[in-house]
């Protein structure tokens, strides 16, 4: 099991009021699954994704990532998990604007302590795999949205993680680019990567194997996609 959430709460204190962004969430995800987490805006999807990605910690409840209790890991161990086990793809791409496509993709490898030549070769390889072999030295602002998101996917893949987390990766893209991104994610899943995708778009969600519906911080439905 890659992900095992048991009775997870995330509560934000807003003055006197409490916001239950996650309310007793229990969720298990196996290796190789393609899961879409679906819900309306403000339902807690991003909160969930941040916890799954070890970017944030639950207020209470248990989270095991690949069998390790995340609450017992220190900052450096969490950084190592984010670095080598998880690849992030964000809605707004989150590329570093001053770095070229190649340098952006090299970042995780740099933090993994890989040599310059290894980084170069690996970054080229993944950029070519997402169809950007001709755009290695472009800065993000010289690329289209779809291309930027492909750089982001290449970056997520560069350290060869087992799981890709996407928070509305097609949210800022036109339909055509969105479709291309989905094709890449599906192909990655075929090659054995676990994909967890957050979306409020049911058409996108349909393309996954499993849909987890979330509302007001609670999982209201967890179903296999048929067809």
């Amino acid at each position: 099991m890659v992900i095992n959430l048991e009775n997870v709460y995330k509560i934000y204190e807003m003055g006197d009021a409490e916001v239950h962004a996650l309310d007793d969430v229990t969720l298990k995800i196996e290796e190789g699954e393609f899961v879409a987490i679906v819900g309306p805006s403000g339902s807690g999807k991003s909160t969930l994704m941040n916890i799954l990605g070890c970017l944030d910690t639950p207020t209470s409840g248990k989270y095991e990532f690949e069998g390790r209790d995340v609450s017992r890991l220190n900052d450096n161990e969490l950084a190592a998990i984010r670095n080598r086990r998880i690849g992030f793809v964000f809605q707004n791409f989150n590329l570093l604007p001053k770095l070229t496509a190649l340098e952006n993709v090299e970042l995780p490898l740099m933090y993994a302590g890989k040599s310059t030549s290894f980084r170069r070769n690996r970054a080229k390889e993944v950029l070519e795999a997402v169809g950007l072999g001709q755009r290695l030295h472009h800065k993000p602002k010289e690329l289209s949205g779809g291309q930027q998101q492909r750089v982001a996917i290449a970056r997520a893949l560069s350290a060869d993680p087992s799981i890709i987390l996407g928070d509305e990766p097609t949210g800022n893209l036109d339909t055509k680019s969105g479709r291309e991104i989905m094709e890449i994610l599906k192909a990655l899943n075929k090659n054995g990567k676990t994909i967890i995708l957050i979306t409020h778009d049911l058409n996108i969600a349909k393309q996954a194997q499993r849909n987890v519906h979330i509302q007001d911080g609670r999982i209201v439905k967890d179903e296999k996609v048929v067809g």
Binding site: D75, N76, A79, R82, N83, N94, M110, Y111, A112, G113
Partner: protein
């Protein structure tokens, strides 16, 4: 993580923000420049003063005799007894008075006549430019020979070679045997003086005994022993019972004077350097200020890097290296400006400056230290950001 890559990135950041980087570095540049320039002035002045004191003669003791009761002077022979001391290599008593010196129909009034012996040249570090100085024989035999100061020589003789000519002093004719090389030190110049054998001066000036003796110790370590021996002897002659009771003579020690002056100028140099160092600290605060702004501006970048697996130490290093690169470049520019300023002050303002490598190294190291010291706080702040808070920052 990759230090080289980080340094490269830091340089790129500096180039991307040229104006801001320059303004940030300005404090460090001014600091390093002024430390180097001011300390160079201090050291240059010290070196110059030291050189001047040393040019008066090395290991020099100056004895002034005030005397006691009827005995107000030493006789020349008494003075020369100091030569028996093994710590003393030269004794040059001097009798002087103001006289008129004539040559043909030219006469020069108010010239200082110095009755001296053959040791004067070595004891006072003088040299003769033309002709020669007195021999021991000439002193003993009261030969009527004179050596002229350079200024008086040209006043009396113009372009004519004075050596072999005659000058008239107090009605006596003297053969000129030499002209002194022009010299000036803190103890005055020989240029307007005329020298004759002291034995003769005693007679001509009708002045019995000497009041002023220049004594040269045989080497640096002998100075204090020489001084002790001179004191002991003078105490006996003038029946001085204790140091406090001594109104009969004074001994000035050149090395003591040097030490005092060196001590003072060292303190002064340190103070100048210290004041300049304060501007370096102000420069450091400038760096801290900009780095804090930079951390805030780049919160999102920090979040992204952390999401990609950067550890606290990676982020901390990144910002620390940036402030180091800033202060390092500032330091290097400051060193260059410091050298140029010191050189310029020497060249165009005719100040004595002396830029030494240790000062440059200390000033540069201090700028690096300032970069680290004032970079730590912002870098630590960046490293401690929670990934989720940093990522969410707009």
């Amino acid at each position: 993580m990759d230090i080289l890559q980080t340094i490269k990135l830091a340089f790129r950041g500096i180039i991307d923000n040229k104006m801001r980087s320059f303004l940030t570095m300005l404090g460090i540049i001014i600091g390093v420049t002024s430390v180097i320039a001011l300390v160079s002035i201090g050291q240059g002045t010290t070196a110059k003063v030291t050189e001047q004191i040393q040019s008066m003669g090395s290991n020099l003791l100056t004895v002034n005799i005030m005397g006691r009761g009827a005995t107000t002077t030493l006789s020349y022979d008494q003075a020369m007894e100091f030569m028996n001391s093994s710590y003393i290599s030269g004794v040059a008593p001097v009798i002087s008075d103001s006289v008129t010196v004539e040559h043909g129909n030219v006469n020069e009034e108010d010239i200082t006549l110095q009755g001296v012996n053959e040791y004067l040249l070595s004891v006072r570090n003088y040299s003769v430019d033309n002709g020669r100085f007195f021999t021991a024989q000439e002193i003993q035999s009261r030969k009527r020979v004179a050596v002229l100061g350079s200024e008086i020589a040209s006043k009396l003789f113009g372009f004519v070679d004075p050596v072999g000519q005659t000058v008239k002093i107090k009605g006596y004719n003297f053969e000129v045997i030499g002209v002194m090389k022009s010299s000036s030190s803190m103890m005055g110049s020989t240029d307007e003086q005329v020298f004759i054998p002291i034995t003769l001066a005693e007679r001509i000036l009708q002045s019995r005994g000497v009041r002023m003796i220049y004594i040269q110790a045989s080497d640096k370590d002998a100075v204090s022993s020489a001084k002790t021996e001179i004191s002991a002897k003078l105490d006996k002659i003038f029946r001085v019972k204790s140091e406090d009771d001594n109104f009969s003579y004074r001994i000035f020690d050149q090395s003591e004077m040097l030490e005092t002056i060196n001590e003072t100028s060292k303190t002064l140099t340190m103070m100048l350097g210290g004041i300049a160092a304060i501007s370096l600290i102000v420069g450091g605060i400038g760096i801290m200020n900009i780095m804090l702004v930079s951390v805030t501006e780049r919160t999102r970048e920090i979040g992204i890097r952390k999401a990609l697996g950067a550890r606290k130490i990676d982020i901390l290093n990144q910002f620390l290296i940036e402030s180091l690169v800033l202060s390092g470049i500032g330091g290097i520019i400051g060193v260059i400006f410091g050298y140029v300023t010191s050189w310029g002050l020497g060249k165009f303002m005719s100040m004595s400056t002396k830029t030494t490598l240790p000062v440059v190294i200390i000033a540069f190291s201090f700028s690096i230290f300032v970069g680290v010291f004032f970079g730590i706080y912002p870098a630590n702040k960046a490293g401690n950001l929670k990934p989720i808070d940093a990522l969410r920052y707009e």
